[in-house]
């Protein structure tokens, strides 16, 4: 008996899901790449543009002060969403990638020296890997990896304490939920260990912020980043949370309007707080839409969303396991709401193209995890990723289309 924990109440909020693709009802299973938008978010962005838009922080007129209020209110919403003590810890970015780049170039160039170590895991998305490669090259620090084992992607986190004790690690950056393995890393334990050794932590919460309760103070992380478009918000907006002590002496990496307090022809001084990291006119409508999305998710409750995710992850894992020749990545239990797999000898792109012909939208490729794929001896996988508006019957549609694909591409 199918259990749709949340779709019954909330799927109707997502107009985009009510359409046919190639003659079949759309089954949208590419949520790890980008989620869809409830009508309240779409309406709020339109309302903002219709009624309140002006530039922020510089106008005296009514529209500007309304836009400024909305923008700064969005910062408060984001702070509450992450359990941050103050909205001063919230920097708006273009997304996860920009947040990590900001920390790498601002914190990294000020604090990393030759011989020191940046530690990340082998499962990181390119966004949490390449910025560290680049800052390591610039500063002479070395980038090292926490190994993962097997297709399940297991990490022996019990070795972390010893590793941090014996090596000059300055920063540890890791993903909360892996976008290709679907495993969930124990953020609080990792951050506690890191803090004991004075190691700064960055959590990539791109796959988790909209999927599980997050409280940065309980987790004890120094930086945490996520993207709006993976949690029902617009593209082009994201959040960087920074521990206030670290933010206080962090230099900006972009310069211009909005972020300064006093400028002469010779020099400039920065604003205090998050604004000095937000040079130029920000994505105001993005922040407004993001706040609407985060409030929408809070209303559903992220514990309920996590429960729904884990249910779909488990059901999909079980049903897909019955397919001949399937190789599923990630843990058998304790998995998030995504399943990444290779089906026999069928190339992921062929599989995804085939599924699309029957209205099933998946992702196929290396998922911005080229080193991980190489390590696992894979070029690409197909990935089905779920959100609370999906249904169990959609998983059945996926399984049916995969059976058809086996017959179509099989010998």
């Amino acid at each position: 008996m199918a259990i749709d924990l949340l779709a019954h109440d909330y799927r109707g909020d997502f107009p985009i899901l009510d359409q046919k693709v190639n003659g079949f009802p759309l089954v949208y299973l590419d949520n790890a790449a980008s989620t869809q938008h409830p009508v309240c978010v779409i309406d709020e962005i339109a309302r903002y543009y219709r009624e309140d838009h002006a530039n922020v922080h510089r106008g005296i007129h009514a529209l500007s002060s309304r836009a400024t209020k909305l923008y700064e209110d969005a910062r408060i919403v984001a702070a509450q969403f992450l359990g941050a003590a103050s909205s001063e810890s919230i920097i708006f970015t273009r997304g996860t990638t920009e947040g990590i780049n900001l920390v790498a170039s601002s914190w990294g160039s000020a604090h990393l020296s030759p011989g020191e170590i940046i530690l990340i895991t082998e499962m990181e998305h390119h966004a949490n890997l390449i910025p560290w490669q680049m800052i390591a090259r610039r500063t002479g620090a070395s980038l090292q990896y926490i190994p993962i084992h097997g297709d399940e992607g297991t990490v022996d986190w019990s070795l972390l304490d010893q590793r941090l004790k014996e090596n000059p690690v300055r920063l540890l950056a890791f993903t909360h939920i892996s976008n290709s393995l679907g495993c969930i890393n124990p953020v609080r334990e990792i951050c506690t260990t890191a803090r004991r050794h004075g190691v700064v932590t960055l959590v990539d919460a791109a796959q988790s912020a909209g999927h599980a309760p997050i409280n940065v103070q309980e987790l004890g992380c120094d930086f945490l980043v996520f993207s709006g478009h993976k949690c029902c918000g617009p593209t082009g907006i994201g959040v960087l949370y920074g521990n206030p002590e670290l933010l206080a002496d962090l230099e900006p990496s972009q310069f211009g309007g909005e972020m300064i307090s006093r400028v002469t022809y010779e020099s400039a001084e920065w604003k205090s707080g998050p604004h000095r990291f937000e040079a130029g006119t920000p994505h105001i409508a993005g922040a407004v839409g993001l706040a609407s999305a985060l409030e929408y998710l809070e209303n559903i409750g992220r514990s309920a969303i996590r429960h729904s995710d884990h249910h779909f992850g488990r059901v999909a894992y079980e049903k897909l396991s019955a397919l001949p020749g399937i190789r599923i990545l990630g843990p058998k239990t304790e998995r998030a709401g995504l399943v990444s797999f290779q089906l026999g000898t069928i190339h992921a792109h062929d599989l995804v193209a085939y599924a699309d012909q029957f209205g099933v939208a998946m992702r196929g490729g290396h998922h911005c995890n080229q080193p991980l794929m190489r390590k696992l001896g894979l070029q690409a996988t197909a990935r089905a990723s779920f959100y609370f508006y999906n249904t169990e019957s959609e998983i059945d549609r996926l399984v049916d289309v995969l059976w058809d694909a086996i017959r179509y591409f099989g010998d």
């Binding site: 190639n22 069928i346 190339h347 992921a348 792109h349 062929d350 193209a353 085939y354 012909q357 196929g364 490729g365 290396h366 080229q370 794929m373 070029q379 690409a380 179509y408 591409f409 010998d411």
Partner: protein, 142 residues
């Protein structure tokens, strides 16, 4: 069904049983193609006859059905052709896939890839082997 326009019988056949699959030892030259969006890799090996025609050709790599079939069919089509003829065929093939009402002169079996026109995101798949061939031919005589 539209999917059958993309995966025509001959394409599925060549993807499952690629022709001229393997390597050629030096002095045959090698050219490589890489598609960063999916990680597909194709290497094409070519040896030329004294008169400058493609005497032997093989390829290997891992790629999707479109790419495997396109490369396989390419090897059967360019064998015995001169470098100029092979590159000319590449140009005709790519124009056939990208331009409305482009002529299919001399494409023969390669016309099976006409369905790619409806799936522009697969254009790179259909042409990767040809780019690897061009790279190999560029390495000839060096």
């Amino acid at each position: 069904m539209e999917i059958d326009d993309l995966y025509q019988t001959i394409i599925l056949d060549h993807s499952k049983r690629p022709r001229n699959f393997g390597e050629l030892p030096p002095p045959a030259v090698k050219g490589e193609g890489y598609n960063p969006s999916c990680g597909d890799e194709i290497a094409v090996f070519v040896s030329e006859s004294p008169t400058g025609t493609i005497e032997q050709i093989r390829f290997n790599g891992q790629a999707c059905a479109i790419c495997m079939a396109s490369t396989s069919l390419m090897t059967t089509q360019v064998k015995g052709k001169t470098t100029a003829q092979a590159l000319g065929l590449k140009r005709v093939f790519i124009e056939f896939l990208t331009k409305e009402a482009a002529p299919a002169n001399g494409l023969g079996n390669l016309q099976a890839f006409g369905g790619v026109k409806k799936f522009p995101q697969r254009l790179k798949c259909a042409t990767l082997g040809w780019h690897a061939l061009a790279a190999a031919l560029g390495n000839c005589g060096q």
